[in-house]
């Protein structure tokens, strides 16, 4: 294990963390403001990726595709909120889980119906193709670096949105006291639709950017969704700051664990067994991390009072 490889993997972890943050921030906002658990969040991720791949394929321009994918995810989010989700705010979590699980089935099978089962391909745009040389002699793909940069910008943007704007003020008011915000005369259902669409748009953006690194296919949102759940459980449900810290923690631990653990086990096991056991343990690592954090902080690192 050289220092440069470690540095590269650390960047990969940050990049994964960035993606998880885009997913988790939407989930945690929707939970914080509306008290809703949304399993279908991964469907917006998938929507973003599919629309981006399709529009990019049609227009030949990745950036047009990315914009279209993000907006389409936000629009689908707003539509779903209007048609289904707003009937669930006053229901218990079980009903929310089931209804949004039903939405996953509808979205996944509907997409399969439209696009078929074989994956779509989306290429990294030419302007971001190639690599850059970083410290420690690491040659790192420019596109991945751009994702990390985008994540930083979005984190700052969300912070400014929530702390500095009228919409943000309403979001914070909604988190603290749902009755109050209605009494203030804020149009609560518009606010909810906006927040939901914002979360869906962020998920769509994540799906669209990742779509260029992996294949675009049905079900692609689900593993990310479950990782995002782990992130917000670790960070504290409802806390954007928790989502950020949790996302980076999960991204880095997961990525480094997969690289380091097999080598670690090789110190005291024979090589083939070590890589098998190492890989198996590495795949469980973030869940073990979650369990340990829960033992000490049952409500996550940045617990939000409700």
């Amino acid at each position: 294990m050289t220092l440069s490889l470690l540095f590269e993997q650390l960047l990969n972890g940050l990049q994964l963390g960035t993606m998880l943050f885009l997913m988790a921030s939407g989930l945690t906002l929707v939970f914080g403001v509306m008290g809703l658990i949304n399993l279908a969040h991964g469907s917006f991720y998938m929507t973003g990726a599919f629309v981006t791949a399709w529009v990019t394929g049609t227009t030949g321009n990745f950036w047009v595709g990315l914009l279209a994918g993000t907006l389409a995810a936000a629009a689908v989010g707003a539509l779903v909120e209007f048609a289904v989700i707003r009937r669930l705010y006053h229901r218990d979590h079980l009903d929310q889980v089931l209804a949004t699980f039903a939405l996953i089935l509808i979205f996944s099978e509907g997409t399969r119906w439209l696009y078929g089962s074989s994956p779509l391909w989306l290429n990294v745009p030419d302007s971001l193709a190639g690599s850059v040389i970083l410290p420690f002699g690491v040659e790192y793909p420019l596109y991945r670096l751009a994702i990390i940069g985008m994540g930083v910008l979005i984190a700052i943007g969300l912070y400014l949105l929530i702390s500095r704007t009228r919409l943000g003020m309403r979001i914070r008011a909604g988190e603290n006291d749902r009755e109050m915000i209605g009494a203030l005369g804020v149009d609560i259902s518009t606010l909810y639709t906006l927040v939901f669409a914002l979360g869906a748009g962020l998920a769509g953006l994540a799906g669209a950017t990742i779509g260029a690194l992996q294949s675009v296919q049905v079900g692609m949102g689900e593993p990310v969704l479950i990782l995002a759940f782990v992130v917000i459980v670790i960070g504290g449900i409802g806390s954007i700051k928790g989502a950020l810290v949790g996302a980076l923690l999960v991204g880095v631990v997961d990525t480094l664990g997969r690289v380091l653990l097999p080598d670690l086990f090789k110190l005291f096991m024979e090589a083939s067994a070590a890589s098998g056991v190492g890989a198996a343990i590495a795949s469980m690592l973030i869940y073990i991390l979650m369990a340990i954090i829960l033992i000490f902080k049952p409500n996550g690192l940045f617990a939000v009072k409700h």
């Binding site: 079980l94 099978e109 509907g110 098998g276 073990i288």
Partner: protein
């Protein structure tokens, strides 16, 4: 027949032992349909339909397990695929080592694998109990959304572990070449296997019926309805819930072992989180918190899977629509619709 007498206040003070209410008649009818359907199909030489009935029974059993935690204990576990899959892998791994005549898990001092159902079932139940104890201990410190997500996450952990563990097939799964055996019975006979499963379902249902009517059941009911009242009465809610959660995982694990034997195969799809969702859907389709709800739910689910699946490749799209409609408009599930009463609570 139903537990509602012992759970709701409006019922008579003594359980109506020999009198069935509407819900009781429906339950009895469902069980009869299964038995008669499987027998007729067998006589007609339609093994496919006998196996379809076995599938209903096994999935119902998994649902009965989840219902104990979810319906009666108020614990919304989104990770019961972990127990279902673990039970399946016990059956698969036992058969694998029995076939190879190697010690279980390849660990030298362990006994050889087994192709006998009874020890496999007992092992599945014991291991699922242990797993549920571990997950329950960690998860029951939280509640609400946390509990849902954490149970989901732990099940996912088991799923990834199974995928990355190459010995037992990893992503490809593990075939069971010869169905496991039970004494002198011919378990390869589809009707014999059906009645085995059916017998276990009945046993689980009557066990749950007794359990819910017992002192433990009273404490569990109170833990769901009002944990503050339970604690103020002098009973800690958490151990009560934990025990119910463990039993719940055990029953679902047993169903998993049967499911693997039914299909002659165990794979990571048994551990997939969609499976957790399906088991939950079965409980809800039938009617949450009704003892026989999962039976109705499983029959409906498997029937839809068969019928819609025959019509279109995208049958889950329609399953999604049905489920959405049930959640939004028919919250009592099948039992709620048929018996004209809304869901408990």
């Amino acid at each position: 027949m139903t537990q509602s007498h012992s759970l709701t206040a409006t019922g008579p003070a003594q359980p109506a032992r020999f009198r069935l209410d509407r819900e009781g008649w429906i339950s009895l009818g469902l069980l009869l349909i299964l038995v008669v359907g499987a027998s007729v199909a067998y006589l007609a030489g339609e093994n496919f339909f006998v196996n379809l009935a076995s599938r209903m029974v096994i999935i119902a059993l998994a649902g009965v397990g989840l219902n104990l935690a979810l319906g009666f204990g108020g614990m919304v576990s989104f990770g019961h695929a972990a127990y279902f899959g673990l039970g399946g892998y016990v059956a698969g791994i036992g058969a694998f080592h029995a076939f190879d005549m190697t010690p279980a898990l390849g660990i030298p001092f362990l006994p050889n694998g087994s192709d006998q159902m009874i020890p496999l079932w007992l092992t599945a139940i014991a291991l699922c109990g242990l797993l549920a104890y571990g997950i329950g201990r960690l998860s029951l410190g939280t509640s609400g959304v946390y509990f849902i997500m954490i149970t989901l996450a732990f099940a996912q952990m088991i799923y990834y572990f199974a995928i990355s563990w190459p010995t037992y097939g990893g992503e490809d799964g593990l075939p069971i070449y010869i169905r496991n055996q039970l004494w002198g019975l011919n378990t390869n006979n589809s009707l014999v296997f059906f009645f085995l499963c059916f017998g276990l379902l009945l046993a689980a249902l009557s066990f749950c019926h007794r359990l819910l009517g017992s002192r433990f059941g009273a404490a569990l009911t109170m833990a769901r309805l009002n944990p503050v009242r339970l604690a103020t009465s002098g009973v800690e809610p958490r151990p009560v819930k934990l025990v119910a959660f463990v039993i719940s995982g055990m029953i679902t694990g047993l169903a998993g072992a049967l499911f693997a034997d039914l299909n002659g195969f165990v794979g990571t799809s048994m551990l997939d989180w969609h499976r957790s969702g399906e088991i939950m859907v079965i409980v809800i389709l039938g009617g949450v918190g009704r003892l026989y709800g999962p039976v109705a739910g499983a029959m409906l689910f498997v029937a839809m899977e068969f019928w819609l699946g025959g019509l279109t490749e995208y049958w889950q799209f329609f399953l999604g629509l049905v489920l959405l409609a049930v959640v939004l408009f028919a919250r009592g599930g099948v039992f709620g619709l048929l018996s004209g009463r809304s869901r408990h609570e």
